[in-house]
């Protein structure tokens, strides 16, 4: 794993995510699409009905977040990642359609990790309690669909060096498992 940050431009190609490994520190620049629970439910419904999607997932990275309101002069209010597992039942639908990355926090299901391996997608972790810092990496924010969902509307974010870590790479690596095993000890053991 690389401790020196790897700088990536989004949209990403499959070849762009292939070199990434669990534990790599990455800075994302370019586009992120903010979407969370209600947004994903609606996207799944649109897929089911054969209706157009709010954005083409090919090459894109989804950020699981619902920002707080922005103070005047800020592009976006505080926006840390929310728990990704709530999107587990929906994520494979986007991964099958070329989604290359997801930014969130917390464990993903086996189905999601299988889809990532099969289609070439990476799951990045961000730190929720750094929401104010993360918002500073967002230079522009625009609601592109589902405005009625408020904090859950689809937002297109232009980000600069957005700090993330690779949790699940395309090869079955899992930082949450590997990190825990590396640092687990017996009580009383120094």
């Amino acid at each position: 794993m690389s401790r020196e940050p790897i700088y990536l431009e989004v949209p990403l190609s499959k070849g762009g995510v292939e070199p990434l490994r669990t534990g790599d520190v990455v800075r994302l620049s370019g586009l992120l699409y903010a979407a969370r629970d209600a947004t994903h439910a609606r996207i799944a419904e649109a897929i089911d009905k054969g209706e157009p999607l709010p954005f083409d997932p090919e090459g894109q990275v989804v950020y699981f977040t619902g920002p707080a309101p922005a103070r005047p002069g800020h592009a976006l209010g505080p926006a840390g990642p929310t728990t990704a597992s709530r999107m587990d039942s929906y994520s494979p639908l986007l991964i099958e359609r070329g989604l290359r990355g997801m930014v969130g926090k917390g464990l993903r299901s086996q189905e999601v990790r299988d889809a990532m391996r099969q289609h070439g997608c990476v799951y990045f972790g961000a730190v929720e309690g750094t929401a104010a810092l993360l918002a500073r990496r967002v230079k522009e924010a625009e609601i592109v669909a589902y405005e009625d969902l408020g904090a859950e509307a689809v937002r297109r974010l232009l980000v600069e060096e957005f700090p993330v870590v690779v949790i699940n790479d395309m090869y079955g690596g899992d930082l949450y498992l590997e990190g825990r095993e590396r640092w687990r000890r017996k009580v009383g053991e120094v």
Partner: protein
């Protein structure tokens, strides 16, 4: 009887909402700094450093340090010699939440019903637990409760035979299961005793105790220490990336219970641990 104007309650609640969401409590900041000294994992250290930096930026710019500005939970200690004038106490608290979440640029995260999920639009209703106490004081303690960590909380009705050993196992198991989802380093609230709902309420109230302040009961204080050591041996670490610091504090609260019961509730709070209190 002392008269308290409900408008003053509303203003105090509004101020608490903004303060709690933009300024980490001193005890929690201290616990984070001490955690940074103990943490050996490079990624774990990086996470704690960024959390501290985020807290500085949030306070300086008066913005929320986490976008999930949560449920507005209040523990109200109401003196029996207080009379409220100008309106109802519960409405005054809701009005304060409405005002604070609007003026503080805080996210409105409450939906009308778990089934029909329309946002109430102003983060009300507040969740208020009232305690009648002697005297003419009024104390409001706010806990901003994010959902990510609340979702990973758990309650179990143990038997007296299972006892303390099983209680401790259940607390650690709850944290193992939560893993990264609850956004560690955690503050862990544990409630034991009472009937079913009392344990849950105690677990929540335990989170409002200043970070790391031990329970005055030496037996419970010892259990808190032992649990903290076991939790930090799990290796989950800051943000779940692996490390020594999975929890910053464990607070246990106990209440009498039934001869047939040993309820235990575990309420987790994430690294954005938010409390504030005011007296009127």
């Amino acid at each position: 009887m002392r008269e308290v104007r409900v408008e003053d309650v509303t203003q105090a609640v509004s101020d608490l909402c903004i303060e709690a969401n933009t300024r980490l409590p001193a005890g929690h900041l201290r616990a984070l700094r001490e955690g940074l000294e103990r943490e050996e994992s490079p990624l774990g250290r990086e996470v704690i450093e960024r959390l501290l930096e985020n807290a500085e930026v949030a306070e300086r710019e008066c913005i929320a340090f986490c976008q999930d500005t949560g449920y507005a939970v209040f523990f109200a200690e109401v003196g029996t010699e207080v009379r409220f004038v100008g309106g109802e106490l519960a409405e005054a608290i809701d009005e304060g939440v409405r005002r604070g979440y609007d003026e503080g640029y805080l996210r409105k995260s409450i939906v009308r019903s778990p089934i029909e999920r329309t946002n109430t639009g102003d983060n009300t209703p507040a969740i208020v637990y009232y305690d009648l106490v002697p005297g003419d004081g009024l104390k409001l303690t706010m806990l901003v409760k994010g959902a990510g960590c609340d979702n990973m909380s758990a309650l179990r009705m143990l038997t007296p035979a299972e006892g303390l050993t099983e209680m401790k196992r259940f607390v650690v198991e709850t944290i193992e299961r939560a893993g990264p989802n609850a956004s560690p380093p955690l503050t862990v609230g544990v409630g034991i005793g009472g009937p079913f709902e009392k344990a849950a309420q105690l677990a929540k109230k335990a989170l409002t105790r200043p970070s790391g302040e031990p329970n005055p009961d030496p037996e419970l204080a010892r259990i808190e220490e032992e649990l903290l050591e076991e939790i930090n041996a799990t290796g989950i670490g800051p943000a779940g990336y692996g490390g020594r610091v999975t929890a910053l504090a464990v607070h246990v609260e106990s209440f009498p219970t039934h001869i047939a019961a040993f309820p235990v509730a575990v309420n987790l709070d994430c690294h954005s641990h938010r409390t504030a209190s005011a007296e009127l």
